[in-house]
């Protein structure tokens, strides 16, 4: 027995020698673009089958496959890293130790730790999701114009509200005006609803938490039973609000993924992210920039902010629960946005009829206290406001 173990162990040692040798020779061949090593720091488990981390993991692996990179040998992940600078730092050190070329950090709270690390490891590229910090060389951030997709899903909800005759729309949100991310999503959605149905009211119920399945269900039910909402939109991870809408015989707009399988009779369409679009762009830039110093210059901007145009955000296919002409109206508005003729938070208001005909007219963009945000005919609110400082609701939105 002992002999067997000894043979086995020595065989193992030989094998490990061989694999070491292989990696050495690989490095010797030089900076081949296909050798790109990708590092990722996740807030939840890489084995998740739904939710935020899953969406990013899926985006990274999809992008790698598209670029012909091997997920098994060229992707290094440290997962379940809380938003604590020391732990983020430890994750960065682990990944740098694996000689990765680029590190993606997917959670907002990694921001300061990544900034410090970027200064300390100039030979590695750092790329931070949802953040706002960057430098001129090897540290950028990325986020998307989710409000554009929200607006499109709002159109579907607005047309449905016209069809059912119920003007009350509910919105289960992780947070409200505390974060520009949630506020811009709520406002984009509400403006989409109002473009179709000016009488519609959007009731926002805040969870105070990014993931809380039990209350996501309870809040949606409460919006339906107490506020008489006929459509439930959401900014939270699980499909519970859609399921609650289905159980009550109502309708809803999901988020993050097509929630039609979860609520086949209720779901209209969901605002979704195509994270792979960014990850592919970033990996290509990392392959072509020569050295990490040139990454931001190669990307062209320290703050990537893709929208419908880049296909970074989108909506899931229109379900058969939607009112007639929904596709037509959405296609028309999508064209306006993609061509750069119009954007959501501007002094130009779209009016959409039940037949799906879209017309443009100058109008003030008001917040729900009656203040003018953008005067009639004015240009769109700046990107920095949408990502960073939007802390108001547009007219017709109220907290419930």
């Amino acid at each position: 027995m002992k002999k067997l173990i000894a043979i086995f162990l020595s065989a193992l040692m030989l094998l490990s020698l061989v694999s070491c040798g292989a990696s050495d020779s690989n490095e010797a061949t030089g900076d081949n673009a296909k050798d790109l090593k990708v590092g990722a720091i996740y807030i939840n488990s890489k084995n998740d089958t739904a939710g935020y981390t899953y969406a990013h993991h899926n985006g990274i692996t999809t992008a790698m496959k598209e670029l012909g990179l091997d997920v098994n040998t060229q992707l290094f992940i440290v997962d379940e890293v809380p938003e604590d600078p020391e732990q983020v730092r430890a994750a960065v050190d682990t990944l740098v130790g694996k000689n990765v070329d680029i590190i993606f950090g997917i959670s907002f709270g990694y921001i300061d730790a990544l900034e410090t690390a970027a200064a300390e490891y100039p030979e590695v590229i750092f790329s931070h999701a949802t953040g706002y910090k960057s430098n001129e060389t090897n540290f950028n951030n990325y986020f998307g114009r989710a409000y554009q997709a929200r607006y499109l899903s709002g159109i579907a909800a607005g047309l449905k509200s016209l069809q059912t005759g119920n003007n009350n729309v509910g919105y289960v949100a992780a947070y409200g005006t505390e974060y520009a991310e949630t506020a811009s999503g709520i406002n984009g959605f509400a403006l989409g609803v109002q473009a179709v149905n000016p009488n519609a009211k959007v009731y926002v119920k805040k969870l105070g938490n990014w993931a809380d399945e039990v209350n996501e269900s309870a809040f949606a039910t409460e919006l339906i039973s107490s506020f008489g909402c006929g459509i439930i939109a959401q900014h939270c991870d699980s499909a519970q609000p859609q399921i609650a809408a289905e159980n009550a015989g109502m309708f809803g707009c999901g988020y993050n993924s097509d929630m039609s399988p979860d609520a086949p009779k209720a779901h209209l369409t969901a605002a979704i992210w195509n994270w792979n679009v960014y990850y592919r762009t970033a990996m290509e830039a990392a392959m072509n920039c020569g050295s990490a110093d040139n990454f931001v210059a190669t990307m062209g901007t320290p703050a990537y902010y893709g929208g419908l145009k880049e296909n970074f955000v989108d909506i899931s296919p229109i379900s058969e629960n939607c009112a007639p002409n929904t596709q037509k109206a959405i296609d028309a508005v999508r064209e306006l946005i993609v061509n750069g003729e119009w954007d959501v938070f501007s002094g130009v208001k779209l009016s959409i009829t039940a037949d799906g005909v879209v017309t443009k007219a100058d109008a003030d963009l008001l917040d729900n206290a009656g203040n003018v945000i953008v005067a009639a005919g004015g240009a769109s609110v700046e990107d920095g406001v949408i990502t960073g400082t939007m802390n108001y609701y547009v007219a017709g939105v109220q907290e419930a």
């Binding site: 939840n44 488990s45 084995n47 998740d48 089958t49 739904a50 939710g51 981390t53 899953y54 119920k205 805040k206 969870l207 105070g208 938490n209 993931a211 809380d212 399945e213 039990v214 209350n215 269900s217 309870a218 809040f219 039910t221 409460e222 039973s225 107490s226 506020f227 008489g228 991870d237 699980s238 499909a239 519970q240 399921i243 289905e246 159980n247 399988p261 979860d262 086949p264 907290e399 419930a400």
Partner: protein, 331 residues
């Protein structure tokens, strides 16, 4: 907005979303009355939930789901019993370990099943219909509170029945008396011929089985939608505290569940009540969400303090030998 329907829905929510606490609490009371402190309620509920839900769906039967949830919880309890009763492991540590282990099983089994096609509750008519609200004639027709209190799914009534049953069992049967004796002083109980080990094993298993059904309820209440977070969501821990709240009485546990549920549900319905009755309750809308989130736990802390003061006066239901392993040869 219909003012009366707001109250109805508030009362309804208190019951619907907090019954799992009752299962957890009653199960834990049974375990603790045998002198064993099982902190693994969260894990036990998770194990009962995942197996109950999956097998219930495969069999398309709510009854099978309840049975499997009970058995899974009981088997998990058997593990606790084997470790603490037979092998004399530290009860606190074992309970905490089982929480982690149970959640691990939950995600392992759930993710494995999901990879091969998750059973969606809507496709299993018997489960969906079985979990639908039942109207009780006359009682459910009482205006305003009738539907809130009496139109509920079968498992709500089962939970109340189990609580009452366990209360009666502990208080009015010989076996219940023997069990309480073991919890107070296992050596004395042993000396009068009570089989301490066997009684502990049985009641730990049954108690954990009850917790398992509570977990199954959570799964059904979430419409069996399996995501990256666990269905139990910390309810198991609250149940451990509710045991003290209830002073180890399943009857008080029913009241405790609804008192706790009242504050828990304020978070969901507070703003609706404020909107419906702006003059009387308008202030509810000005309380920050974070305060609502913290409220149930603040209440728990206050109750624990009050109970510990009360217990000093000697009216406690706390089993004296709670948390101490009984080893016959050491008498």
């Amino acid at each position: 907005m219909d003012k009366l329907s707001v109250i109805t829905s508030f009362v309804h929510n208190i019951v619907v979303f907090n019954i799992p606490l009752l299962y957890g609490t009653v199960g834990e009371i049974m375990v603790e009355k045998s002198g064993s402190l099982n902190l693994g309620v969260e894990g036990t509920m998770a194990v009962g939930a995942i197996f109950g839900y999956i097998f219930g769906c495969y069999a398309n039967s709510l009854g099978v789901g309840i049975m499997v949830a009970f058995l899974a919880g009981a088997l998990f309890g058997l593990l606790f019993a084997a470790l603490t009763v037979s092998l004399q492991a530290n009860q606190n540590i074992t309970g905490l370990t089982l929480t982690t282990f149970g959640l691990g099983i939950y995600f392992f089994v759930g993710n494995s099943v999901k990879a091969n096609g998750w059973p969606v509750m809507g496709n299993y008519s018997n489960i969906k219909d079985g979990f639908a609200d039942i109207d009780i004639p006359l009682l459910s027709d009482i205006p305003v509170i009738g539907r809130g209190l009496f139109s509920h799914n079968m498992l709500v009534f089962l939970g109340i029945a189990i609580a009452v049953g366990v209360w009666w069992y502990l208080k009015h049967t010989t076996l219940g008396l023997k069990l309480r004796a073991i919890g107070e002083n296992p050596a004395a109980a042993d000396s009068v011929g009570i089989n301490v080990k066997r009684m502990k094993y049985i009641h730990i298993c049954v108690g954990c089985g009850i917790m398992g059904i509570g977990g199954y309820y959570m799964g059904l209440n979430m419409s069996g939608s399996f995501n990256s977070s666990c269905w139990i969501n910390g309810y198991g821990w609250i149940a451990v505290a509710l045991v003290i709240f209830a002073n180890w009485s399943p009857a008080i546990a029913i009241i405790g569940t609804f008192v706790f549920g009242f504050f828990n549900t304020l978070r969901v319905s507070g703003t609706s009540i404020a909107a419906a009755f702006p003059d009387q309750f308008g202030w509810l809308a000005h309380i920050p969400t974070q305060m609502y989130q913290a409220l149930p736990f603040i209440i728990t802390a206050i109750v624990l303090v009050v109970m510990s003061i009360r217990n000093k006066r000697g009216s406690s239901g706390l089993p004296s030998a709670l948390g101490q392993n009984y080893f016959r040869e050491e008498r």
